[in-house]
Symmetry: C2
Subunit: 233 residues, 2 copies
């Protein structure tokens, strides 16, 4: 069931398949699903049981036809004159996004940004399961963030091997280290055997093809805002 | 030169123009400009003086024709057989994005995420000038983040009026408060007279038409990564 990688770490049986190209996922729809999920959870908390594309579209100021198309990627469909079961829709979105299972992750960079991600309950609800927190600053070693002791980044591989012994695989690396350290950290995470990197550092990472990477580009967001401000001024 | 708003705050003379619809800016190009800027600054730090679209494209793994198109929005053009002056290109991009001037901002939500934004030198280099830090948690009042004393959120309007007296206008509000507080905070920032909100809270804000809003959607980014992981698994 498990392959053994060159570094001696066991890897999930899915590992060899990671070379198979990902089929094209509908990125714009995926981007909108978390917003629908938030709305649906709020509706359920108010005691509502059913909803419709029209209703969702109105609340978010979107087109109803777009909501229907986005929701269809999850495989769920509404019933004529009844609408969607909110419970079913929440399950379908979470299942499609991979948010109804835990994703074990190492986080590297125990500064304010790292602490914000560890402490944010929303990501934990989406399955992000931080199993190790690392930094290169000795002043932080042994300090605690939400119950996680900060460990030296050079101990990452050893920690991963230890977890492997309990059949716990580290699937994701979250990089909240400075840009100057990001590539080194990424290399260490690849050695650990992660198959995805969530990168908050403003750096372009070189990674093997089988490692997925999502860059959080906060400067892009700031650029969109300031360029509009300048244009209006 | 200045208009007086209903709340007694003076507003920049540009305020009435804020109702004029923003002309369509090339969003995809704007998203890529910060990446080019980072590359160009690194090249300049290495002592380089000129570059080309081909070179930039190679370093970022993009198409040369796209780089040329993106750079053209800033109004700068390269010289045949010479290329672009790196200094000119950096200036042109920064000018286009509004990053060669200071943008005064209030930040609301002095937790880890707020502290990360205040401490991140990159945003300061792009002109983000935090002039006030606020929170609703009395335990944080008087504590200090990078020299900023955290003040009660209810003091925001008073602080803005005080700054107005020195001709200092607060143009932007950065919301790093929880989603449940985001709309209330946004209303207070509108009262202060900001013309743009950079919202990190996972909440859809209702704002007057003249207030620009950019939502940082970290859950979107997480969704893109986990949905690909699920698809490959």
């Amino acid at each position: 069931m498990r392959a053994v990688a060159p570094n001696g770490l066991t890897t999930p049986s899915s590992f060899p398949n990671a070379m198979i190209p990902t089929k094209n996922l509908p990125t714009p729809s995926i981007r909108r699903l978390p917003g629908y999920l938030r709305l649906l959870k709020a509706a359920r908390a108010r005691g509502e049981r059913v909803t419709s594309c029209t209703r969702i579209a109105e609340e978010l100021g979107q087109q109803s036809v777009q909501v229907r198309k986005d929701l269809s990627v999850t495989g769920v469909s509404g019933r004529p004159k009844v609408g969607y079961s909110i419970d079913e829709l929440i399950d379908a979105i979470q299942d499609f996004l991979g948010w109804n299972r835990k994703t074990n992750a190492f986080l590297v960079g125990a500064g304010n940004l790292g602490a914000a991600i560890i402490n944010y309950q929303g990501f934990a609800e989406h399955g992000l399961n931080i199993v190790g927190v690392f930094d290169s600053n000795p002043a932080l070693f042994g300090s605690s963030i939400k119950g996680h002791k900060v460990m030296p980044v050079d101990d990452m591989l050893g920690c991963a091997k230890m977890l492997n012994g309990y059949d716990i695989m580290v699937e994701m690396g979250v990089i909240t280290a400075p840009a100057s350290a990001a590539q080194t950290v990424a290399n260490q995470l690849v050695e650990v055997g992660v198959r995805a990197i969530w990168n908050y550092a403003p750096a372009v990472l070189e990674l093997p093809d089988y490692v997925l990477c999502e860059n959080v580009k906060l400067s892009e967001s700031f650029a969109l805002l300031t360029s509009q401000m300048k244009n209006r001024a």
